[in-house]
């Protein structure tokens, strides 16, 4: 498989108060299309920062990020927003649905950024909800749904615009085992049947088993052997 993403010589640090915290120092990584990677590691190891960089939600201090052969680290703010809308789906630990919108409206949100006609949008929303098995709940608001259901809506929202890359930050961190396994099963399905490339940050070794491979991150460095494998 060709590489979907290449990170080359990434430096990234944050200032917290007066302190300067280095996260990555010359990080290199490439991710083939169709991969499903679980990223594990202690708090502060740089997992979330990695997701932000991969998803264009944050920029490296140094180094380049290529997606599908094109650099994204030097895109302008608005270009980057458009790129995210087209290419990346985000799934968060606490779902982050809009409480004022129904499940279907939440799913439709990313389609506002496309030029799809209304009918096509409705089809796509229905399809995405079907994929996550929530067609029945389309009209419900987030607070009327269980945690697992909310996360399914979030997944539907992440895939509705048909992005190549899904980024998941502790997607099952707030769920019980059985529900978590269902969610992870859905992610696995998306990876296997729809060919989505998935990067999933998790603390949960059982969750990581659903991925094709697991990478361990510590103090901004991957385990070199895992990375090479």
């Amino acid at each position: 498989m060709p590489d979907l993403i290449r990170l080359a010589d990434i430096d990234k640090s944050y200032t917290r108060g007066k302190e300067r915290i280095a996260i990555f120092d010359r990080l290199n990584m490439h991710i083939p299309a169709g991969d499903f990677i679980a990223v594990m590691g202690p708090s502060g190891s740089g997992k979330t920062t990695l997701l932000n960089l991969l998803g264009g939600a944050d920029r490296p201090d140094k180094g380049t990020i290529e997606f599908d052969g094109k650099r994204i680290d030097n895109l302008k703010e608005n270009e980057l927003a458009r790129w995210r809308a087209a290419n990346v789906g985000f799934i968060f630990q606490f779902y982050n649905l809009m409480p004022i919108l129904t499940a279907a409206q939440n799913v439709e949100l990313p389609l506002m950024l496309t030029n799809l006609p209304a009918a096509k949008r409705r089809d796509n929303v229905a399809t995405a909800l079907k994929v996550v098995g929530l067609e029945e709940r389309a009209k419900h608001r987030p607070r009327e749904l269980s945690g697992g259901q909310q996360q399914r809506v979030a997944i539907a929202r992440a895939i509705v615009a048909d992005p190549k890359l899904l980024l998941c930050d502790e997607p099952t961190g707030d769920l019980d085992r059985a529900t978590a396994d269902e969610i992870l099963g859905t992610l696995q399905l998306l990876n296997r049947q729809l060919g989505k490339t998935i990067i999933m940050v998790t603390h949960d070794a059982a969750a990581a088993k659903f991925a094709k491979r697991t990478l361990h991150l510590d103090k901004g460095k991957f385990d070199e052997r895992e990375l090479a494998a």
């Binding site: 944050d58 439709e108 950024l113």
Partner: protein, 383 residues
């Protein structure tokens, strides 16, 4: 679903809060629209640049000899002049039934105030013909239930008839429509000749001499010529154009414009503070959502638009409700005993729109900029 849909949804996310904000905005616009219309309808009548008024230099309550009218009529630069007297009229009750009744010279009065007297030829003829004829502004006739053709007894609180009676009988021959700005708002017209023959004191004297000049450019010359002509006589005059006269008349009540500005200013400062701080809080509560939306690919510009859209929508909704309520209250107040008919002053409409836009922008700009500048990383790490 589009941005406007989201704006609407967001605005009513906490309905109690939004309704309370709408109430406070509504109040400010109500005060503004109501008070402005009130002041306008008391002072802002249709004026005509060529319409001038001559009155006693001592005060407008002092009268002038009728000879002044004849002299002014024949002066150069005067197209047509008329004269009117204050009758001190009331119907039944001296306080509740008080009304501005003017004794006029019918034919010339209709020439000088042509625009404000859009009456049919029949009504005009009826008024000109009969000495005891009377015309009443529509709202006055409606309020007292007078029908055309009916005899109406009017009292004077100043004059007495030769027989000691203070009641005059008039026949209502027609009503005068009073669109906003009409100089005839609330007035009742009777014949000078009839008035002059029946009063006990002050015969052959007149109150004011309104007249039309041949052109507005000639005004200054005409004014100077008239006032000079009567200078050093027992009845000196002061001549003004109509707008100046109206303005100084309204100024007698006090500095209405200043009071209006102070009250409206206070109301708007109050809502600016309330709406501004609440919007800031409302937007700050949604920081994380904005982060999520940006992550989904919404541009900072579109977030800015939506936040500003929300504060603008709020301001416009509140303004519209306030102006609507003002229209209702003006109608109600205008139909109360003794009140002149009141209308919404037309400039209030576009001024309110402008003020709503200003309010929406001012209260929304800081939260909108904060949302615009928000970085995804900061927003998502917020609890």
């Amino acid at each position: 679903m589009n941005e406007l849909f989201l704006v609407r949804k967001n605005l009513f996310r906490k309905p109690v809060r939004t309704v309370l904000l709408l109430v406070s905005i509504l109040i400010a616009f109500l005060i503004y629209a109501f008070m402005t219309s009130l002041v306008t309808s008391m002072s802002d009548f249709n004026t005509k640049p060529t319409r001038l008024i001559t009155l006693s230099k001592i005060n407008f309550t002092e009268t002038l000899p009728i000879a002044h009218y004849d002299k002014i009529s024949r002066m150069e630069g005067v197209a047509v002049a008329t004269h009117m007297n204050w009758f001190g009229g009331y119907y039944q009750d001296p306080v509740k039934g008080f009304m501005p009744v003017f004794a006029v010279d019918p034919e010339t009065y209709f020439e000088v105030y042509k625009e404000d007297l859009p009456l049919s030829e029949e009504v005009k003829a009826a008024f000109f013909k009969e000495r005891t004829a009377m015309l009443a502004a529509e709202p006055v006739a409606r309020r007292w239930g007078w029908k055309v053709g009916q005899k109406v007894p009017l009292n004077s609180n100043i004059f007495t008839q030769a027989d000691g009676s203070r009641v005059w009988d008039f026949t209502l021959v027609g009503t005068i429509p009073t669109p906003p700005g009409s100089s005839q708002t609330g007035s009742v017209l009777i014949h000078y000749d009839y008035f002059n023959e029946t009063i006990d004191i002050g015969r052959d004297r007149i109150g004011w001499i309104p007249f039309l000049s041949t052109s507005a450019e000639a005004n200054d010359k005409v004014i100077a010529a008239i006032d000079q002509r009567f200078a050093n006589s027992a009845d000196e005059t002061r001549t003004n154009d109509e707008a100046t006269f109206n303005k100084s008349f309204a100024a007698q009540l006090g500095n209405l414009a200043l009071v209006l500005a102070l009250v409206v200013g206070a109301a708007f400062i109050a809502i600016l503070l309330i709406v501004g701080t609440t919007m800031t809080l409302a937007i700050r509560e949604r920081t994380k959502e904005f982060g999520v939306m940006k992550t989904l690919g919404f541009s900072s510009g579109s977030i800015l638009r939506m936040v500003l859209g929300e504060s603008l929508l709020l301001a416009f909704l509140g303004a519209a409700l306030g102006v609507l309520l003002a229209v209702g209250l003006l109608a109600a107040a205008g139909s109360m005993p003794g009140a002149p008919p009141l209308h919404l002053a037309t400039p209030v409409l576009w001024q309110s729109a402008l003020m709503a836009a200003g309010l929406g922008l001012v209260t929304g700009v800081l939260p909108a900029l904060a949302a615009y500048r928000l970085s995804i990383v900061d927003a998502l790490s917020r609890k």
